[in-house]
């Protein structure tokens, strides 16, 4: 807090003392060096024109933030070599340079301090000229960025293999390339009192609901935070139901997924420095959708989707159901199964409930360790965790074999849909507690409680369970199954209500049928 306050004070004092440039080049350079004192990445390169020695210049930039090749070839070289004597007036040297000499796609004369600050800090170059109290802001953003690679968080076998990067402009480009339409709008704003992170609200005019847009802007306006380092900050700051384990703001690393969501009427929020783009509103069904579903055969895709939703159901419920049946409702078990479970539990000291809790915990510990470790060590952790520990625990009769099986099964199932991971872990524990209290009835009541909670949650005014109960045209086609494209003629209701028609029915169907 103290640090933040000091910084702000500093800014203010600067603006008050000398808020504009003077005509002396040296003074101006000093002025900048004073602002960025103790910051040795600030480079001030002075040079002058061959033919006109009065044309003394200085480029100011941050080392590493700019494309130096571009700067050398397109800015410094022309100024050095061009014969400025020919037909040029020294009075208008700045304009001459701007319009005739410097080879750059984006250049602007300015004497606004704030503008100068923000451009130099985002990687632009400031060109100062002797005798002018203005400067030129030359776009030269560059420096190291990550290449566009396939995202790790959502791999596909079929489909585009590009993912977002940390650069906001690259990300917007990727989206723009998918949707070539003049109605695709980008609205920039800055968030973070210190970091001044750029974020961009991205939507398709005519599809996105204005109410949601207004609500989103209201919530973004309300954010007063010093730093935004990842889209996760914003995700948590604008979400509904802040205490719920469920995500109410979606995110994706894939441009195609974001484009598809924009086309359904959602609004995307791109944050500079984060490869994860947020989408609102977000409903539960989206957790079960993968972008590959839309590129594969619809039967296969539907099968995968069912697998995912059933998988999540099993992942949350299986330990609880097992516990309930084995410790409360033994009559449910077929006799041979009862006998084999009994024999596996011979000599095991811990109660089933406790050992299930412990094993679920251990599984999550292994998962966490393996994620954080470098890959080779991560693999080792996996092997030790799964093989050695699992085997040894059963051999040593600390935990019975079925418990290990259940844990592993539920653990794998929960990975089927990575976005729901957090809520699954919480929910699973809750169900387990309920089942250990009241058997299968506890589990059922836990389910009812979870359902009541889910029914209460809304994401930007849209019910979170949207579509999960309907099987009709608008909403249900893309929930439990992925209907064939020729039949998905309408966008999901409520979200895409402003322009429901996705494709004209007859053409779509006819071309497929024919």
């Amino acid at each position: 807090m103290i640090r933040k306050k000091n910084l702000l004070d500093h800014d203010q004092s600067l603006e008050q003392e000398n808020s504009s440039l003077v005509k002396s080049l040296e003074a101006n350079i000093e002025f900048f060096q004073k602002i960025f004192h103790d910051n040795e990445t600030l480079i001030a390169r002075k040079f002058q024109n061959k033919y006109l020695p009065e044309a003394k210049c200085c480029v100011l930039y941050f080392d590493g933030m700019v494309d130096t090749q571009k700067l050398n070839e397109k800015v410094i070289q022309p100024i050095l070599n061009t014969n400025l004597n020919e037909g040029l007036s020294i009075q208008h040297l700045l304009e001459e340079l701007e319009f005739k000499v410097i080879v750059s796609d984006k250049i602007k004369a300015s004497n606004d301090l704030n503008e100068m600050m923000s451009s130099i800090m985002t990687g632009d170059t400031i060109l100062l000229l002797q005798g002018f109290d203005k400067c030129l802001l030359i776009s030269s953003k560059g420096g190291p960025t990550r290449a566009i690679v396939e995202p790790d968080s959502a791999r596909v076998i079929r489909g585009p293999k590009e993912g977002f990067t940390e650069s906001i402009i690259t990300n917007l480009t990727l989206i723009r390339r998918k949707i070539n339409n003049q109605n695709l709008k980008f609205k920039f704003r800055e968030l973070g009192e210190i970091t001044h992170t750029k974020i961009c609200i991205c939507y398709i005019e005519g599809l996105a609901l204005e109410e949601i847009m207004a609500e989103l802007e209201k919530r973004l306006d309300a954010i007063k935070i010093d730093a935004i380092l990842d889209s996760g900050y914003i995700q948590e700051l604008i979400r509904d139901a802040p205490f719920s384990p469920y995500e109410t703001v979606g995110y994706s690393e894939r441009p195609d997924a974001i484009a598809a969501k924009l086309l359904e009427g959602r609004i995307a929020i791109v944050v500079d420095g984060s490869p994860f783009v947020l989408t609102v509103p977000y409903v539960l069904a989206e957790a079960f959708q993968a972008s590959e579903d839309y590129y594969n055969n619809f039967i296969f895709a539907s099968f995968n989707r069912l697998l995912r939703s059933v998988g999540i159901f099993i992942a949350t419920g299986l330990p609880a159901i097992y516990l309930a049946i084995v410790t409360y409702h033994q009559e449910m078990l077929p006799t041979p199964l009862l006998l084999s479970i009994t024999s596996s539990r011979q000599g095991v000291p811990f109660p089933t409930a406790l050992s299930l809790f412990l094993m679920l915990l251990v599984f999550d510990v292994i998962r966490e360790a393996a994620t954080r470790m470098p890959t080779p060590i991560g693999q080792a952790v996996n092997i030790v965790g799964t093989l050695v520990l699992g085997q040894a625990i059963v051999e040593a009769k600390i935990v019975s074999a079925p418990v290990i099986i259940i844990t592993a099964f539920s653990g794998i199932m929960k990975l089927l849909s990575p976005t729901t991971l957090g809520s699954v872990i919480v929910l699973r524990l809750f169900f387990l507690i309920m089942a250990s209290l009241m058997g299968i009835y506890g589990y059922i009541f836990g389910m009812i409680m979870a359902t009541i909670h889910l029914m209460n949650v809304r994401s930007f005014g849209v019910p979170y369970m949207l579509g999960l109960t309907s099987f009709k045209n608008h909403n249900g086609q893309d929930i439990w199954i992925r209907a064939p494209w020729w039949s998905m003629t309408l966008r999901p209701k409520i979200i895409g209500v402003r322009n429901l028609v996705r494709q004209s029915t007859k053409i779509g169907k006819g071309s497929k049928m024919g």
Binding site: V326, Q330, T335, L339, T342, Q346, T352, M434, L437, I452
Partner: protein
């Protein structure tokens, strides 16, 4: 926001309960003494002797399932069952019990005293198989070592399940017994079990049936008779018909396997309130074993055989009904129930005196045997001279 508060609140209450009072019905599987079967005998002074077969599991890599027996006396069945805790140390677990064997003596006295607890308790399951022991005590039957399985009770249950391809004993689950007990115009028959020597040791064998009058045992039927009764009751699903084909001059018996049987009982009430029953038996069989030199591929011969078989069956059934009428005098065939279903008005008049009427009710049996195949061979095996 609010709902979260209440979620937390309710969870706190639950957790309190969890830690302070424990969970009431929580029980680990290995703490259960799983009862596989139970035998009930009569003891001294009107006491009951209950023997339970309890499954013992030794864990480890190669787990082994064996069983042990607990015998205990008590004033009532439940008393005896609970007394076993003093012996076994664990509470017995009844949901996986497969058979209940009742001794002759108790069945003669009153079956109700046995089955009421079993049907009423919520842990026991009423779809357990009921057996009546022909041996002196039921305990003896239960305590024999099983032939193929580890646990005797499970083998008995399996035997009963596979009875459909033998049809020499009825299958009676406990709730069915109670159903028939309560129903009007039908009495129970229950499979009977006895011991038979096989390779130096005795093994239980399920053959024949015990006949009840209400809840009291009044006699046994042998396996042949049981099959005939099952024919009438339309409970034959398999088994064999074995007979000599006298018309074709065969000396050795011929075996036919039953594939399907359909029996219809039709009560006929004449003007003067006389009740008659038409029984139509329609059986589909397959020739499975012949010794002799007759070509059954011939249609005429086949027809002769089937007619003969039908006649034999008819004779057997008629004889059986006669015997039951004269010897036991109780309606094990369910004629009365059939009459009640089809003609409740007439039944109301005769209900009170049905047992007497049954003894001389006239029955008209018609049988039909369809021979559909003769195994893999089309011709008899010939000896080469």
């Amino acid at each position: 926001m609010k709902s979260i508060k209440y979620l937390i609140l309710s969870n706190m209450i639950f957790l309190n309960m969890f830690f302070l009072t424990g969970c009431w019905n929580y029980r680990e599987v290995e703490k259960l003494a799983v009862v596989a079967g139970v035998a009930i005998d009569k003891g001294k002074n009107n006491q009951f002797i209950v023997t339970t077969e309890v499954i013992q599991i030794s864990g480890g890599r190669e787990s082994k399932t064996t069983s042990t027996y607990i015998t205990m006396e008590g004033k009532s069945i439940f008393d005896a069952v609970r007394n076993q805790i003093s012996f076994a140390g664990k509470k017995l677990y009844w949901s996986h019990t497969k058979v209940v064997i009742v001794s002759k003596e108790i069945a003669r006295h009153n079956m109700l005293s046995v089955i009421d607890w079993y049907n009423r308790d919520s842990e026991t399951r009423s779809d357990v198989n009921l057996l009546v022991s022909r041996e002196k005590t039921a305990k003896k039957v239960l305590e024999q070592r099983a032939l193929l399985e580890d646990i005797n009770s499970f083998e008995l249950a399996d035997t009963l399940k596979n009875q459909i391809s033998l049809s020499k004993a009825p299958i009676k689950e406990l709730w069915g017994f109670i159903n028939d007990l309560e129903a009007q115009g039908i009495v129970n028959i229950v499979p009977a079990v006895h011991l038979k020597k096989n390779k130096n040791m005795y093994s239980p064998q399920i053959m024949g049936a015990a006949v009840f009058d209400n809840a009291k045992l009044i006699g046994f039927l042998n396996s042949e008779e049981t099959q005939e009764v099952l024919f009438v009751k339309d409970e034959v699903k398999g088994g064999l018909l074995i007979d000599r084909d006298k018309t074709n001059g065969l000396k050795a018996p011929i075996s036919m396997e039953i594939f399907k049987n359909k029996t219809k009982i039709e009560p006929v009430v004449s003007r003067n309130n006389e009740i008659k029953f038409n029984i139509k038996v329609d059986t589909r069989v397959d020739i499975d074993e012949i010794v002799g030199n007759v070509k059954y591929a011939n249609e005429k011969v086949l027809k002769k055989l089937s007619n003969n078989e039908a006649k034999n069956l008819k004779n057997r059934i008629e004889h059986c009904i006669k015997k039951v009428q004269s010897e036991y005098g109780v309606d094990i065939f369910g004629f009365g129930a059939k009459l009640r279903e089809d003609n409740p008005k007439v039944w109301k008049k005769v209900a009170s005196s049905w047992n007497d009427r049954f003894k001389n009710v006239s029955v008209n049996v018609s049988t039909k045997v369809n021979i559909k195949g003769s195994g893999l061979f089309s011709e008899p095996i010939k000896m080469g001279d």
